[in-house]
């Protein structure tokens, strides 16, 4: 391999340097019909799952075909997307917030033709490349984080749990038969880079064992005061240990105070907390972000722990499917999952979804916990 220079000269890093220019202006990438009718749209319709029609005040129409993707994608795959866009949608393509693809076409026939084409593209293993769907009262693509593919703190994988889950709820991606949209999100640790705390259904990686302490290396790799300050519960304090006749400056951890958040590890690589048996997933439900009918709401933990069962996480996916199916059967039209649970009562939610209630589901973290306890005698048997 010969090093190919871009023109950058390491001896004179400032020479010809361009910085702080930000993104390109989005206006350069709008398809003509979008550009012409910018801010002048009249209404939209979902023609069939995965196909949207937008009609402008001018009478102009544009059809959108929406397809799911794994958000981790190769350059080969992106080139394939480009080929499709060049062939069908004038060389324009859009990614949605939830990692779906969208292509604009001019007619309903073209949209249906594109839908059929996209649904024909398969990987050698049999998976769809660009399954069309993700509109209306269904499940759309799962937003997720890095997991074991690229992060240092995950308690579970992200791409794998998402693939396994989407396989199980695939029908709800390609159809619109739920009472309301269901947004599933996935984050592989409590940092929630893909924050899932307000999703209809959330898959959240959690650790359950306090950090290990790499005493011999800690003081070399970490600033002890930073590690101490990082702990939200004050579980970490400076300490000394004798090992092999030598004294090391290190930290001690009050284990009963640890809530397994991994903040100390973020500040100090000598405090790893991953563990094959200890790590797994919490399932949260009932959050939403839209203001429609009811207010935005946080997700609630309804299953405190399911073990990591790679590659297909059967307990996780079975539980999600059960919750989704119970909701689909029981909820009213337009009622989001959390609104349904609020209406029937959470005690009823556990009963109907066949989920056990345990002490781990009673909040004990600081003040907000209090607002989740019941301060009334109005409850259901």
């Amino acid at each position: 391999m010969a090093f190919i220079s871009s023109g950058y000269n390491p001896d004179k890093p400032m020479e010809g340097r361009v910085s702080d220019i930000g993104p390109r202006h989005f206006g350069e990438y709008l398809p003509p019909v979008i550009k012409e009718n910018f801010g002048k749209w009249d209404y939209h319709e979902i023609i069939e799952p995965g196909i949207l029609l937008h009609v402008a005040l001018s009478g102009d129409k544009t059809y959108t075909v929406r397809a799911g993707t794994a958000r981790l994608m190769s350059v080969t795959h992106i080139r394939e997307i480009c080929d499709i866009a060049d062939k069908f949608s004038g060389g324009y393509v859009r990614f949605t917030t939830r990692n779906n693809l969208e292509f604009q076409v001019e007619t309903e026939e073209a949209a249906k033709e594109l839908k059929a084409f996209l649904n024909d593209q398969k990987f050698p293993g049999g998976a769809y490349k660009f399954p069309v769907g993700g509109t209306g009262a269904g499940v759309t693509n799962i937003v997720h984080t890095q997991g074991w593919v690229h992060c240092h703190t995950p308690a579970t994988d992200a791409s794998g749990t998402v693939k396994a889950t989407m396989d199980v709820v695939f029908d709800d991606f390609t159809d619109m038969k739920l009472p309301a949209p269901v947004r599933i999100s996935m984050a592989c640790c409590l940092n929630m880079c893909g924050a899932v705390h307000c999703s209809d259904i959330a898959i959240l990686g959690i650790h359950r064992k306090p950090p290990l302490i790499d005493h011999k290396f800690l003081d070399n790799l970490c600033e002890i005061p930073l590690a101490v300050a990082a702990c939200p519960t004050g579980a970490v304090r400076p300490s000394k240990v004798e090992l092999d006749g030598e004294t090391y400056k290190t930290v001690a951890i009050k284990e009963e105070r640890c809530m397994f958040c991994g903040n100390c590890y973020t500040m100090c690589p000598s405090l790893p907390l991953s563990d094959g048996e200890g790590d797994g997933i919490a399932i949260m439900v009932g959050g939403k972000i839209s203001n429609r009918i009811t207010k935005p709401a946080f997700s609630k933990v309804v299953v405190p722990f399911v073990p990591n069962e790679p590659p297909r996480w059967p307990t996780l996916t079975k539980t999600i499917k059960k919750i989704l199916d119970t909701y689909a059967k029981d909820a009213n039209k337009y009622e989001r999952l959390g609104d349904w649970a609020n209406r029937i009562g959470w005690e009823r939610f556990f009963e109907k979804c066949d989920l056990p209630f345990s002490e781990h589901l009673i909040d004990d973290f600081r003040d907000p916990a209090y607002y989740t306890w019941r301060q009334t005698t109005q409850f259901k048997w």
Partner: protein
């Protein structure tokens, strides 16, 4: 021929949903074949080794990525996330595997020329694997080595005129819904505001000066398609002040079953005929709609939840006096539990003509306050929780308003200030003793 055996990952190739495993394998093959004859600048087999290390995690149930090191491009504090594999001997292709965040066009519209140019850089200088996109919104280039970072940055800025995104304790890459580009609900131009603020605050984006990360997100309306209210330290959510516009003829068409409600979102199931009383009137959260052959909305009582408009998008339209609400302080649970954005400014005009100065004033006031008062690694939501909403409102320089609270305080522990009370706090004990014996 695969470099590592991946029996567990192979099981993720079946099933309908797009398989990232199949895709990584496809890239591994493409790089091995190298049909374009590229002189790959990082190990050719990094996709293979990524699968290898991932398989190992599937076996162990533990990640094999080390804590990131400090890497980046000259003069920037963010944009690159250092990453090293903890089994470099077994997986040399990913021994150094840093992530590069690249600023996305707002609303995530692309043409294929731009995409092809982006992947061309990444094919040559990176792993050939990406996230399109990261949860914050940037394009994420997944995995390269340190010597390539300046080269990538050079090519991005010189050849494509695109910058890196944010990471670290700075302004993160702002993100927006597609807004006016394709949505009839957009109450302001969320993309243009997002673009403008992104450009205005490039310095804050690239050079960490804050206590912790700071995110802007822009939703064109209360439907919240980018989840601004939940995901951003400052959320800009479109809204309006005047009346919802009603076309009674089209309402009648919905009632008559000529147009499917909710734009056809419920077509997968037979929910029976549309019942405007049950599906719109009764579900209005502020009970301000009535229907007696004609739809009436008591707009003064409307809380602009969007339900009636979402349900009958052809008959009902957002009002004309448009702007946005600004909410502050959303964050995920770390450290102090999750927080939703709290309403700071009920309504502000989104005015391009004066370069959004009113909004920028608020942003800068808030930053000044947070940089002064915030502790290290404290999100602004935590600072406002610690010091109080009133302190934030004061710092932001916006008026106090009943709309900022759900309900007034429960406790009378009011922190009166000396200037709030007649005569101030200064008193004389001797004077007091003249009236009260010891």
């Amino acid at each position: 021929m695969a470099k590592h055996k991946t029996p567990l990952l192979d099981q993720l190739e079946s099933g309908p949903w797009p398989s990232f495993v199949s895709d990584i394998k496809q890239e591994a093959d493409a790089r091995a074949k190298n049909e374009q004859g590229l002189d790959y600048q990082i190990p050719v087999d990094c996709p293979d080794d990524l699968l290898g290390v991932l398989e190992m995690s599937y076996t162990d149930g533990e990640t094999h990525w080390k804590h990131g090191g400090i890497v980046g491009v000259f003069g920037y504090g963010g944009g690159v996330i250092g990453r090293y594999c903890d089994q470099p001997q077994m997986f040399p292709g990913v021994a150094h595997f840093h992530t590069v965040r690249v600023a996305q066009p707002n609303g995530k519209w692309y043409n294929t020329e731009l995409l092809r140019n982006l992947v061309k850089i990444w094919d040559l200088r990176g792993s050939g694997l990406t996230n399109m996109h990261g949860a914050t919104g940037d394009i994420v280039f997944l995995g390269t080595t340190t010597p390539q970072l300046e080269e990538i940055f050079w090519e991005l800025t010189h050849d494509l005129e695109i910058d890196l995104g944010g990471s670290g304790s700075n302004l993160r890459t702002p993100a927006t819904c597609l807004g006016m580009s394709r949505c009839e609900y957009a109450c302001y131009d969320s993309q243009e505001l997002c673009y403008n603020l992104t450009q205005e605050y490039q310095d804050e984006l690239h050079r960490p000066a804050f206590p912790y990360k700071f995110k802007f997100k822009f939703d064109g309306c209360p439907n919240g398609c980018v989840a601004a209210i939940a995901r951003s330290d400052l959320s800009f959510i479109g809204t309006w002040k005047d009346e919802i516009k009603i076309n009674q003829e089209v309402v009648a068409a919905y009632v008559g079953g000529e147009i499917a409600p909710n734009a056809g979102a419920h077509a997968g199931r037979d929910w029976g005929a549309f019942d405007i009383q049950k599906e719109v009137v009764d579900l209005c959260p502020s009970k301000c709609i009535s229907y007696d052959g004609k739809l009436t909305i008591d707009n003064k009582e409307c809380v602009r939840c969007m339900h009636c408009i979402n349900t009958m998008p052809r008959a009902l339209k957002i009002g004309d006096e448009r702007g946005c609400s600004i909410l502050c302080g959303a964050k995920a649970p770390i450290l102090d539990g999750p927080q939703m954005g709290s309403l700071l400014v009920p309504f502000i005009e989104v005015n391009k003509d004066d370069d959004y100065q009113a909004i920028k004033d608020i942003v800068e006031n808030i930053w000044d306050w947070w940089m002064e008062e915030g502790k290290n690694r404290e999100r602004i939501g935590e600072t406002m929780k610690r010091l109080g909403m009133a302190a934030l409102i004061d710092a932001a320089g916006v008026p106090v308003d009943a709309r900022q609270v759900q309900e007034p305080r429960h406790n009378p522990y009011i922190f009166w200030k000396a200037e709030d009370v007649e005569g101030g706090w200064e008193r004389d004990i001797n004077d007091f003793r003249k009236r009260h014996q010891r």
